[in-house]
């Protein structure tokens, strides 16, 4: 593989992949906070809300694990148009876990921001430009 020969740019991307992967569990629990959703709805919700693009092949097994852990419950629901869907909802343990995890997350990201304050000047312009580009893309404008 030719990409492997350029360790510096790739390693940041790889790190991002790991970061996203690690936060996926919390993201899914958070997506279910307001009520039940089926698999594809969860994926779309994450995509729209957070631009967290989740690979299906990762999300479904993870959902199954959350179910095995008793954090989410699943049920098949017949729909009027089309086929039945498997809906997921948070259990009491799942709600508690989501709260715990989001507390940890808030604490972690707070201390991380403090740590990153010296780098802020350099990255902030890029970040704002990036966000603007993304919102333009979302609105469908060129």
């Amino acid at each position: 593989m030719s990409e492997a020969r350029q360790p510096v740019p790739e390693s940041a991307e790889k790190w991002e992949v790991q970061l996203r992967k690690g936060s996926l569990e919390l993201a899914i629990l958070a997506a279910l906070w307001d009520g039940r959703l089926y698999g594809l709805e969860i994926l779309r919700y994450l995509e729209n809300k957070s631009e967290l693009v989740v690979v299906e092949g990762t999300a479904y097994p993870l959902l199954n694990r959350l179910r095995a852990l008793g954090l989410v419950a699943s049920e098949w629901v017949e729909s009027d148009q089309g086929h039945p869907r498997k809906y997921y909802s948070l259990t009491a343990a799942g709600r508690q876990r989501a709260l715990d995890m989001s507390r940890i997350w808030a604490r972690f990201s707070g201390s991380m921001s403090n740590l990153l304050a010296p780098l802020k000047k350099e990255t902030e312009d890029e970040f704002e430009q990036d966000m603007q580009d993304r919102s333009l893309k979302k609105d469908g404008r060129p």
Binding site: G57, Y60, L62, N64, A68, G82
Partner: protein
């Protein structure tokens, strides 16, 4: 661009055949899970593929658009899911991880470690240690129980062989039991068997738990 009806039917039929082939392969690979779980997963993935392919073709106004899925859309959906082997492996290892942590039952743990042994070398090592631990522990525990149930039939016998100067010992059922001179442990067999055997079982179980937490890594998914 409109396709003649026959061609369109052929397209949708061939893509459906591929969905079924994909799901059949997936179902086969999910042998590790309970049949109910496996069937549930396969149905969920079927609905996902149907949703996904309908969605990408556009609105769901007519049956024709819904069923007429371009092959590349189907393959894109499949690409996101991974090959049946990849997807099944993720399901099984995620499930193993969840059960290994949640269920805490030796039977489930042994099964998990067995599955793990199929995946990695570390798994093989842990599996070997577990087999020895469970067997030895189980054997000793059983001896203790037998002593409790049939005290005069159960014993560990041994003697120094003067000629060859080695120690031979055996476990036998023998009438007379503890009273025979070469019986070694007597009633001690009961607590030793139960405690050492039980301890060994518990230790092995703990070891499995610990190894899974310490060494278990998701497998590098391979293309087939």
């Amino acid at each position: 661009m409109t396709l003649p009806t026959q061609a369109r039917n052929a397209t949708s039929l061939s893509s459906l055949k591929t969905i079924d082939a994909y799901l059949a392969a997936l179902r086969k690979q999910l042998w590790e899970l309970t049949p109910e779980d496996a069937n549930d997963i396969v149905e969920e993935i079927r609905m996902h593929i149907l949703d996904k392919t309908e969605d990408k073709t556009g609105d769901k106004t007519g049956d024709e658009t819904a069923s007429d899925t371009p092959p590349e859309t189907f393959s894109a959906t499949i690409a996101a899911l991974g090959t049946p082997a990849e997807l099944a492996n993720k399901y099984c290892t995620e499930e193993m991880l969840a059960r290994g942590r949640a269920a805490r039952s030796p039977a489930y743990m042994a099964r998990s470690v067995g599955r793990w042994a199929l995946l990695t070398l570390v798994g093989v090592a842990v599996f070997s240690v577990s087999v020895v631990g469970y067997c030895l522990g189980g054997f000793l525990f059983m001896l203790g129980m037998l002593k409790l149930l049939h005290p005069f039939l159960t014993g560990v016998y041994g003697a120094w062989s003067e000629q060859n100067s080695y120690f031979s010992s055996s476990f036998r059922w023998q009438s007379g039991g503890p009273n025979t001179p070469d019986e070694l442990l007597g009633w001690w067999l009961l607590p030793i068997g139960l405690i050492v055997g039980g301890g060994l079982l518990l230790l092995t179980f703990r070891f499995d738990n610990w190894s899974i937490r310490k060494f278990w890594r998701p497998r590098k998914w391979q293309e087939f």
